[in-house]
Amino acid sequence: MAGSRGRGRSQFSFSVDALGFGRGDCLPSSAHTPSPLYPPMQFRPVPLHTGEEVDYMLALKQELRASSKNLPFHIKAARTKTDVARYSDKYQNGETKNNCIEWSPDWSRMPKELCIKVRKPRKTVIGAKPQLTRKPKAAAGKEEVLQKLEKREEEQHSEEEEDEEKKKQNEEEPDADEDYDEEELEDETDYIMSYFDNGEDFGADSEDNMDEAVY
């Protein structure tokens, strides 16, 4: 407001009527600090709606939230291995890998650059275990053994992919296979997968809550 200075010292540049306060009134104090983060409320808020409809939608919301965590759309970054590579890594296929996508979108509707390998859930097919037939015979010399070991490693990687393709074709098999616990029988072990605990999780949880002693 570019107000013109009053002529006399006692004259104010604005008419006191227009602003609604008299001459002698004390003005409210000016603010020195920002307003408080949680100012006290003058009026209590109105209570929430209640009723059957509200309860149903509440239940729906919580259900949706819980189930969306289990869908393949919930993407978690693969944990980077900080330690030495362990033997049990080979059998822990439940972990997500960055370069696979867990569901199969319609690639014709998406740009080609987004195409990524689709990871089918590994269904164990008891009858066809091609790995058993692939065991190479004992090699004579050490070098040959090493070479064969390397080859076997590569074969296993490629056969994993072959396995997946076979399983894609075997999708129409009766659903009895699905009932098999995947974790129970994988590859060549006789052990239940959940018994494998390579100790990575120990101590990884946050230790903020130091109330309880850790034995």
Binding site: G20, L60, P105, P111, L114
Partner: protein, 534 residues
């Protein structure tokens, strides 16, 4: 995109799809349009994770791609559609509406499609039928044809729509230019494909379900892409949010009429809206004109209203200051329309007034309403009209001014804006105030979500323990354990812990239902603002 909207989108993405998608999504919202490489570089995430996140977002219709700035030869650019992310707040309301209109079957269909983004009809039908069969008592199984008929009804009333075909982008763009795309008419958006073969697994035999209409058969044969076993590969369905919003808007108008007037008037308005559902375009300011004769014939049977009484009710509705119904002519006993945009504006105005009343008291609300009606008023006039003493009026006006709900308009008498020779008028503009309140609502929902996450995090240990114990109890019950064992396991949670769990659950429920309630206000304000933009 405002800061509050971006924050809320980030929180919603994180809740449903995890941290990775949240990071990618918020960065893409802030940047506008980006290519894949740029996005990966700027978010410093591995390329594969970015690809996966974009796939998820595109599956749910929240991200779209298009030819980049360098034309079809350059890399594809992606952008986020923010409204679809914000619609995630409203998913429970959509599902509940489907349930109230089409029963459990409709509810599950809409829920499946909402969770998966886009689905083919056959996979939806199969999943829903399996779910329903699972919940039924032993021996019964859900008939596929029932689910198919529910699906068709949803499509006919436009609650579900077909996803538009994508032009193939990326490296094959040159081919796309040469081959002409099939003609995509809006008519085909709501046609259910004919002759889908569905494996009826429960009975172990194949079933052929055929729909009606020969004309549709011909159209569907053109759109059927390839012959796979299901017959409808490539035809994806998504939820038509706009149709749901129209339905919510109608519901809001009807409930407002029933609150303000009475049940019978709301039935009349409901009949009028139902009759003009198909003829009114989405963004029309008012419905098609309906004659009083037509309304009389279309009223539901249970409402035995005589013709002159109907005329009286219509006159009452027309004369009501809320202006829901207007009279546009005299033929056919009087032509009446429902004023949609004006109804929305009045509903938004009522929301604003109620907000002021609840936050600042009824006298401030009186001043606010006064300013809304009289547009511009001086300080003195405000005191006189509102019948509030001068000091308090000044106080309230300055509080409202500091909250930006009221604006000051200066009208100078002289060109030098001297304060003694300038009029200072207080005014309220409805549209900017509505936008301001909408941003407040977004911030509120963001705060509610953050508080809920904080509460959950604080009690994480307790929640995990209770989940484990529930799992143990469930497995024990499944194997048939004695009551003593069950009580022993239950006692592993101590009484104060149980109390803590209960209060935590109570808080989370309260926060969740607050979110739902704020979302209703968001919907009203958004509809009002969108109606003014056309």
């Amino acid at each position: 995109m405002t800061a509050q909207e971006v924050r809320l989108c980030g929180l919603l993405l994180q809740e449903h799809f995890g941290d990775v998608v949240e990071k990618v999504g918020t960065h893409l919202i802030r940047s506008g349009v980006l290519t894949l490489r740029a996005l990966a570089h700027e978010t410093k995430l591995p390329l594969d994770l970015v690809k996966k996140s974009l796939c998820v977002l595109m599956q749910h219709g929240m991200c779209a791609f298009g030819a980049g700035r360098r034309g079809p030869a350059g890399p594809v650019e992606y952008h986020i559609i923010c409204e679809h992310i914000l619609h995630m707040l409203r998913y429970p309301r959509y599902i509940y509406t489907a349930k109230s209109l089409y029963g459990d079957t409709g509810e599950l269909i809409v829920e499946e499609i909402l969770q998966r983004g886009q689905m083919t009809m056959s996979s939806t039908v199969k999943t829903v039928a399996d779910r329903l069969t699972h919940n039924m008592p032993e021996g019964q199984s859900m008939d596929y044809s029932e689910v198919v008929s529910a699906f068709s009804r949803l499509v006919e009333t436009h609650f579900l729509q077909r996803c538009p075909p994508m032009a193939s982008a990326g490296s094959s763009s040159s081919e796309a230019v040469n081959t002409p795309l099939p003609v995509w008419s809006t008519r085909m958006v709501y046609i259910v494909p004919v002759k889908i073969e569905l494996m009826h697994k429960c009975q172990g035999k194949r079933r052929r379900s055929s729909e009606d209409g020969e004309a549709e058969q011909r159209a569907a044969k053109k759109t059927k892409t390839d012959n796979s076993e299901r017959g409808d590969e490539g035809i994806y369905w998504q939820v038509n949010f706009q149709r749901f919003h129209l339905h919510f808007r109608d519901q809001a108008i009807i409930s407002a009429v029933s609150c303000k007037l009475d049940q019978t008037s709301s039935e009349i308005v409901r009949t009028m809206l139902r009759m003009s559902e198909v003829t009114t375009p989405a963004h029309a300011a008012f419905t098609q004109a309906l004659s009083a004769n037509e309304i009389f014939r279309a009223l539901p049977f249970s409402y035995n209203i005589a013709r002159p009484i109907l005329d009286q009710y219509l006159t009452l509705l027309v004369n009501d200051p809320m202006e829901f119904v207007g009279r546009t002519g005299d033929s056919g006993g009087g032509m009446y329309v429902v004023n949609l945009h004006r109804a929305l504006a009045n509903l938004a105005r009522a929301t604003l007034e109620s907000v002021v009343q609840e936050r600042f008291g009824s006298r401030s609300a009186r001043i606010f309403r006064l300013l809304l009606r009289k547009r511009h008023l001086e300080q003195k006039q405000v005191e006189d009209f509102a019948m509030v003493p001068a000091k308090e009026a000044k106080d309230m006006l300055y509080t409202l001014l500091s909250e930006n709900l009221v604006q000051l308009q200066e009208i100078p008498k002289t060109p030098d804006y001297a304060p003694s020779r300038t009029f200072y008028l207080y005014t309220v503009n409805q549209l900017p105030t509505a936008r301001l309140l909408l941003q407040h609502c977004y911030k509120t929902v963001g705060n509610l979500i953050e508080r809920r996450l904080y509460e959950t995090k604080e009690n994480k240990r307790l929640l995990e323990k209770s989940q484990q114990i529930e799992a143990i109890l469930a497995s024990l019950q499944a194997t048939g354990a004695e009551a003593a064992q069950l009580t022993e396991v239950e006692e592993m949670i101590t009484a104060p812990e149980r109390q803590q769990l209960e209060s935590l659950q109570h808080h989370i429920n309260k926060l969740d239902s607050s979110e739902n309630q704020v979302d209703e206000t968001i919907f009203l304000l958004e509809s009002y603002i969108n109606s003014t933009q056309r």
